[in-house]
Amino acid sequence: MNCKRVRFLLTSYISGELTDTERSLVEQHLTGCSGCRTTLASFRALSSEFAVLPSIPLNTEIIDRTFSRIAADRVNRFPTNHWLQAAFIAAAAIAIVAVCVVLFALPARAPGDILASALANTRNLQSFRVSNTAYEKDQDSNEWIATWYKDTEYAGLGNFHVKAKFLPSLTTNTENEVWETWETIVYNHTGYYYYGSTPAAYSVEELNKGFSDVITDLQQPADALKILDEIDKLPDETIDGVACSHYHGLVDMEDWVQQHMIDYKASRPDASPALLLMIEDMWRRKKITYDYWIGKNNDIIHQWSMVLGDAANAVEKNKEIFRYYGFNEEITIAPPVDAQGNLLPGWKTQPGS
């Protein structure tokens, strides 16, 4: 357990809210880390410091005033006619019962828990299909639309069988990368088969990671839950004809920047301090939001999206949408070989390293 993780857990450690394993790992770390021990002492002192906060005198005025307002509210709200009163009370009673049935029949769950549960349900399906669409705006705010992959199939829980269809993209015709339609099958992690233009620039590890991040494990939308600051429930929407609950979350950019600076420094060890500052400043001015659409009847992710924009003027720059469908349909993914084990015409293979 590293210092960052331990410091994140310290307030729970102090209040006795860690599991036995977590507590043991924290204590093990504290034994050898004076910096974290100092932070622990500093946090522990807070409770006694807050104890000096002043108290304010109380009397019955709050109770009296509240009852006066309750009485005034009654006079204003209730009709004076007795029949109307009865009708009003009956209507109110029906409304209250309806609200109770809707709101309190189920235990209240935090949106983050609901989303984590739906992601796990989707991840554990035997099979599904997924398509992705990306929107990107250039400097002149022209919108480009690209579908990176379509009707990609996933089947085989725990075995990682993926058959992806990549489409030509409008946005990737850069000097270094010219994509054409190609199809790939990753089977049992061990290597991959491809058809069309060569994706030889990718190792099987990269493909495995790419697919597990977005498709098989839904790692990216699950990781995002850890850095979302607020999650709001928006009005329901229909995705592929299915009524879905819609959740919207804003990424805590402080956490995001910290994590991405670590990754960036690792990938660019030669970057100058000035460049790092510039990059960090640029990222701090970003705003990232995630949206999730969960089937109201099946508790499965039907769609999620990520939007990247500028925090200051709320301009959206990039948007990626991932749509999931065809749940638990019969999908068979097998290596593209004939009965003798020879590759079918047009297919090539890339073994794992």
Binding site: F8, R44, L46, L53, P54, I56, I62, A110, L225, D252
Partner: protein, 179 residues
Amino acid sequence: MAENVEALVRFRDGDTEAFAVIMRQFQSPIIHYLYHLTGDNELSRDLAQDTFLQAYKSLPKTTRDLPLKNWLYRIATNNAIGYHRRKAILSFIPWEDNRRLHIEGDSLQQVSEAADVRAALLKLPAKLRVCLVLHLVDGFKHREIALMLGISEDAVRKRVTRGSEAFRKLYRSPGGDAS
């Protein structure tokens, strides 16, 4: 606590006066909580009234297993945050009038410390302050705060941690042994 449960049952059965028992039980923690969030004596009393009025109206719609205390704190939090939003003073409270402090029988040093702690607390962003006060002053667990505010437990832990770090930068106890 048994008194509360009984009062809640009586209130649900139509005994309006039973609500006074609930208010007597919770007025002190709720007012102090609001006072720690807003730093203003009168405002915290007004917001407490709003809180109890809303509770009075909404209690009949709740279930019998309602965690009353947590629920009242949630309403109070929403009122305080709502007030801050209306006044567009999310991060800083402009008033800082130590003459409003009512501290009886405390030494001058304690008065000074209390004012410093309060000043540092009020400088924290509202969402950090809410989590810090709920956890460290009112003793709610991270899980309870998460349910109260409708955010994840990790988000609460993050806010308490960040609030603690930010508070520590703003305030050091006179003993100085905290760091």
